[in-house]
Symmetry: C2
Subunit: 340 residues, 2 copies
C-alpha cells in the first residue's frame, strides 16, 4: 500500500510509492565517475591559475605565500559569473504598474575547498573538511553585518545532475537582499508549532528520531544524522545539532569542526555505499533578523540526485519517492544503535 | 545588473542572472532526439499490446473494435506502477506519536495519446491533440464526483530530463486524497489578493500582459499565452483562458478544443525553434472544493527542461534563470502584436 507522509516542519506531503519501490541497493550507481587528474592546467580553480579568478577574499595558506599565488589550502573568491551584484538598490520597483522587481543586489562567493582537482568532501582528509566548514563560518560572520543582505545560503553541488559545471571541489555562498518566500514559510510553520507547543519543531523532531531510532544514521556527542520521515528524495539526510540554535553563524569553532566531521561521515557512507552519486548539500539557517529565535533551528540537508523531478512534482509540490526512509537509514547506518 | 523579480501569484522571487545571461538561441538543442519507429513491438502502449496493460478505463475508437484490442485513437488505462492505490483510508494517523501519515489512496491514470509510437503533442494532428484535451476533461469530470480525491493533477512529461521512462506519447493524471500544500498556498495568496483588490490575480495578470505585450507569445479569441514576468525557468510559458474560471472541469468542449490548439501552437514553436527540448506540462486547476471561487483561475504551465536545479534553488526556493522572459517571448512569438 502506498503511503502519504507529511513533514512536520514544512507541512509538505510526499508519496512513498510502494508499487514502484526500490530497495536501497537498486540505487547504487553502476556507471563509475570519470577519472580526474590531481591537477588540471585548464582548471581556473587549480593552483597556478590564481590570476584567472577574481582576486581572493580570503585564503588559508601555509608559510610565506602571497595572496593570489600558489601555496593555499583553501581559497574564497567572488564568483566570476555572479548571480547577484555587489551594488544596486534594495528598493522594490513596480513594472507595468503590476509586478514587483528590484536590483539583483547581493553577493556570490566560491569556496575552493582544496588545491587538489580530483577530491570531494567524501575523499578529502578530515582536517580539510573542517577547514571548509570554518571558512563557511568565517564568511557567514563577515557577511551578517552587511545591511545589503537578509540571509546567506551556503550550498555545495556535486556532479552534473546536481547542477555543477566545474569539477574542481568547491562550495558556494549567496547572500540575498530578500528573505526567500520558501524560507519565510518554513519559519512561519515553525513559529506556529512553537505557539502551539512551546517547543522548537526541529528539537522535537530530533528527540523523536533519537527515541524511535528507525531513521537514525549517525550520532555523535552533539549531532544527529537521520533520514527525514517525509524524505522528498531517496537517501535525503538531515544533519542537526542537539543544541538549539537558529543560526549557523552562532556556532562555535568546535561545533563547526564536529558538524564537518558528521557531514563528512554521511557523505562517505553515501559515496561508498551508493557509488559516489551526485548530490546537493545546503545549510538551512535563519535570516539575519531571526538568528536568536526559539522556534527555528539551523541544520544541514543532503539531497542525493538519484531521481528526476517530473510534471506531477512541479504541478503539486508533492514529491513521489521510491525509497522508504527506514530502509535507506538502515542501509547507510554508521552508528550501531541499541534496539528500542 | 542582475534583477530579482517576484511572482504576483506565488510571491516567489526569481533571480534573472544577467552576468550569465544567454540569448534565446543559446538554448537551442544541438543533439537531435533519437529517431523512433512508428511502431515498436516491445512498447506496452503500442497497438497489439493492449493485453500487456491493465484493462482500459475508456478509449476513443473508430468503428467496430472491441475494448482492449487494436482500433483505438486514444486510450486511458490505470497506471500499472501506480503512485497511489484505489483502496485505503483517508484517515490521518500518527507515527512515533509525532509525525502524520495516511494510506496512499488515490488514482493514477495514463492517457495514451495516439497509437503512433513516434509522435509528440507538437507533431500530432490538431484533432488528435483536441481529443487528448477532451480525454483530460472527460476523466476530470468523472473523477470530481469521487469522494476519495481532493484534486486531480493532469500532467505530461516529454523526454528523459522531464522524468519520462516510456517514449510512447502519453499524459498522466493523479488524484490525491489531500490538497497539496503547494496548491493550498497558491490559493491562499490568490485569496489574499482578492481580499485586497476585489479581483482575481490571474485575470489581472493576463490583463497586464495584454496591455504590456512585452511577454506575449500568442493570442486567440479566448486564450492568451505568455512568458511569466517571474519565469522560474527559461521559456516557461503560461496558457490561460480569458474567461475567469477556477476549474478545468468547468470548461466547455469548445473551450477544451481551443485550449488544445493554443497549447499545441506553443509546443510547436518550442519544438521548432528550440530543437524539441524535454518539457513538463501541468494543468493547474483548483481543488474540487474550490471549483467556483472568484479568486482562483485554472491555467496550463509549460516548463522546458533546459537547466538543472542546484543547491541554491533547493535551499532557498529562489530559481536562478539565465534567460530574460521579454527576450524568450520575442523568440517564441506566434501572433504579430501591434506595438504599444
Amino acid at each position: 500500500m502506498p503511503e502519504l507522509r507529511q513533514s512536520r516542519a514544512t507541512k509538505d506531503w510526499v508519496i512513498v510509492a510502494t508499487e514502484r519501490a526500490q530497495r536501497p541497493r537498486d540505487f547504487v550507481s553502476r556507471s563509475p565517475r570519470k577519472h580526474l587528474p590531481e591537477h588540471d592546467d585548464t582548471c581556473p580553480f587549480c593552483p597556478g591559475n590564481e590570476h584567472v579568478t577574481p582576486p581572493e577574499i580570503t585564503a588559508y595558506r601555509s608559510g610565506l605565500s602571497e595572496p593570489n599565488t600558489k601555496g593555499w589550502r583553501l581559497r574564497v573568491i567572488p564568483n566570476k559569473f555572479s548571480a547577484l551584484a555587489g551594488t544596486g538598490s534594495r528598493k522594490r520597483e513596480s513594472v507595468d504598474n503590476f509586478y514587483r522587481r528590484m536590483d539583483g543586489v547581493g553577493t556570490h562567493e566560491v569556496i575552493i575547498e582544496t588545491p587538489q582537482h580530483n577530491l570531494s568532501l567524501a575523499t578529502m582528509s578530515a582536517p580539510q573538511v573542517e577547514e571548509v566548514f570554518l571558512a563557511y563560518r568565517e564568511r557567514y560572520k563577515e557577511l551578517r553585518g552587511d545591511g545589503r543582505f537578509s540571509i546567506v545560503i551556503i550550498f555545495r553541488n556535486h556532479g552534473p545532475r546536481a547542477g555543477t559545471s566545474l569539477e574542481h571541489p568547491h562550495s558556494q555562498l549567496i547572500g540575498t537582499p530578500v528573505v526567500p518566500t520558501h524560507i519565510r514559510r518554513l519559519l512561519e510553520e515553525a513559529m506556529r508549532y512553537y505557539d502551539d507547543h512551546g517547543t522548537c519543531v526541529f528539537c522535537d523532531s530530533l528527540a523523536t528520531e533519537l527515541r524511535s531510532k528507525d531513521r537514525l544514521v549517525f550520532e555523535t556527542k552533539n549531532f544527529v544524522a537521520y533520514e527525514p520521515f517525509a524524505s522528498s528524495v531517496p537517501f535525503e539526510t538531515t544533519v542537526i545539532s542537539k543544541t538549539h540554535n537558529a543560526s549557523f553563524g552562532n556556532i562555535s569553532e568546535r561545533e563547526a569542526r564536529e558538524a564537518a566531521n558528521v557531514t563528512q561521515s554521511i557523505l562517505q557512507t553515501i559515496h561508498l555505499k551508493l557509488g559516489d552519486p551526485d548530490f546537493n548539500l545546503v545549510i538551512r539557517t535563519s535570516p539575519f533578523s531571526d538568528e536568536n529565535e526559539d522556534f527555528y533551528h539551523w541544520y544541514i540537508q543532503i539531497y542525493p540526485r538519484l531521481t528526476t523531478m517530473a510534471g506531477f512534482e512541479l504541478g503539486s509540490g508533492i514529491n513521489i519517492t521510491t525509497a522508504v526512509p527506514e530502509e535507506t537509514a538502515k542501509f547507510l547506518r554508521i552508528t550501531k544503535f541499541q534496539p528500542k
